[in-house]
């Protein structure tokens, strides 16, 4: 199973944007600064109790998530062995679905609990949703996907 070149490009760009965004938020979190925002709400979101887990900024987990996706994507492109390629793709697929669910939860937190929007968090969520949607599209695109994607 191979990803379409266009899909690889979309996934790569979305993951790279997500990584840049999450890394920027991580640096600000460790520096205890609020990044400049075009819309109000960044300070409310990035200083809220939900912005950290056990004292670790959530943004750091986001940055690691996107690096993992990019690394697996490069491995998928690089590997010649079709079985290995398939396994990596399944791994990416599982991680990405979990990531999209986490993003959905974080967006809901902003909208319904904090009543504030952080543009950087929304960019990250958008990147996560684009990655997830692209992979689902690829899964549907391939007719003989069942054996390869669920193995």
């Amino acid at each position: 199973m191979r990803l379409h070149t266009a899909a690889i490009i979309i996934l790569g760009i979305a993951a790279l944007i997500g990584f840049a965004d999450a890394l920027y938020l991580t640096i600000n979190a460790f520096a205890n600064t609020v990044p400049p925002c075009l819309i109000g709400g960044c300070e409310v979101v990035t200083t809220s109790v939900y912005s950290r887990i056990f004292g670790i900024p959530i943004a750091l987990f986001g940055a690691l998530y996107y690096v993992t996706i990019m690394t697996l994507l490069v491995m998928h492109v690089d590997f010649k062995d079709e079985i290995k390629k398939g396994k990596i793709l399944v791994t990416i697929f599982l991680i990405v679905n979990a990531g999209a669910l986490v993003s959905l939860f974080l967006v809901a937190l902003q909208l319904f609990v904090l009543n504030a929007i952080c543009q950087y968090c929304m960019i990250s969520a958008l990147a996560s949703f684009i990655i997830c949607a692209t992979l689902w599209h690829e899964r549907w695109r391939t007719c003989n996907c069942r054996a390869e994607w669920s193995s």
Binding site: I27, T33, V34, V74, N115, A116
Partner: protein, 214 residues
């Protein structure tokens, strides 16, 4: 081909890391944000530390339950210990709505202030923020801190629910709104909002500059 892919990947990561660090650094290059302290934001009833007669005034709008404010607390303490004779520090309440006990903590500090121990309670609240912030009922802990700093508990428990402390916190919050506070902590140096200093040395240097250019 394989090496090219991996090199491109590492290069892209490196570029992003460099870009993110540069963006964060540049955002701190300009000190002032262009936002100014609202008219009559500082009142005689405000709680102050440092040199009351100094021409340099640092106003902090803060929330006792905000993690970033807790992170700045030791820096402010050190700044006052090292540099307190060079400036006047004014603490203003800006409890954020998403912090369940922020208002009550501000009331506790004000109630302690009515017995002349505002900053003793201020320290207790920041030092123990992680203990009370997640509690469903923080009142018991606040009373415990009041005992530890030697307050009259009967008066404290009565004051904490009184209008005097509520009005003071509300006035501070209104002053914050007039001053364009968008997050906590927000610092104002001689009436101009500054980007939160990243270190003690940076803060000292800003105070030095303000002293020669009031």
């Amino acid at each position: 081909m394989r090496i090219v892919i991996w090199l491109a990947f590492i290069g892209a990561i490196g570029l992003v890391v460099w870009g993110a660090f540069s963006a964060s650094k540049n955002q701190g290059d300009s000190t002032e944000t262009g936002v100014v302290l609202g008219v009559d934001a500082v009142t005689p009833g405000d709680h102050t530390m440092g040199n009351a007669s100094s021409t340099v005034e640092v106003v902090e709008f803060s929330d006792f339950q905000c993690p970033a404010c807790r992170a700045y607390f030791p820096l402010v303490e050190q700044l006052i210990a090292d540099y307190g004779s060079n400036f006047k520090f004014v603490y203003k309440h800006y409890p954020l709505p998403q912090h369940a006990h922020a208002e009550e903590a501000a009331y506790a500090a004000e109630a302690a202030g009515l017995q002349g121990k505002f900053f003793e309670m201020y320290r207790k609240l920041f030092e123990n923020q992680l203990d009370w912030a997640e509690k469903s009922d923080a009142r018991e802990l606040f009373i415990g801190y009041a005992k530890e700093i030697g307050l009259n508990i009967g008066k404290f428990t009565s004051d904490i629910d009184g209008e005097t402390v509520e009005d003071k916190v509300e006035d501070d919050h209104s002053a914050g709104v007039r001053s364009g506070v968008r997050g906590t902590p927000s610092f104002y140096l001689n009436g101009k909002q500054i980007k939160n200093p990243q270190s003690l040395e940076e803060f000292k240097s800003l105070i030095d500059k303000a002293a020669v250019q009031p």
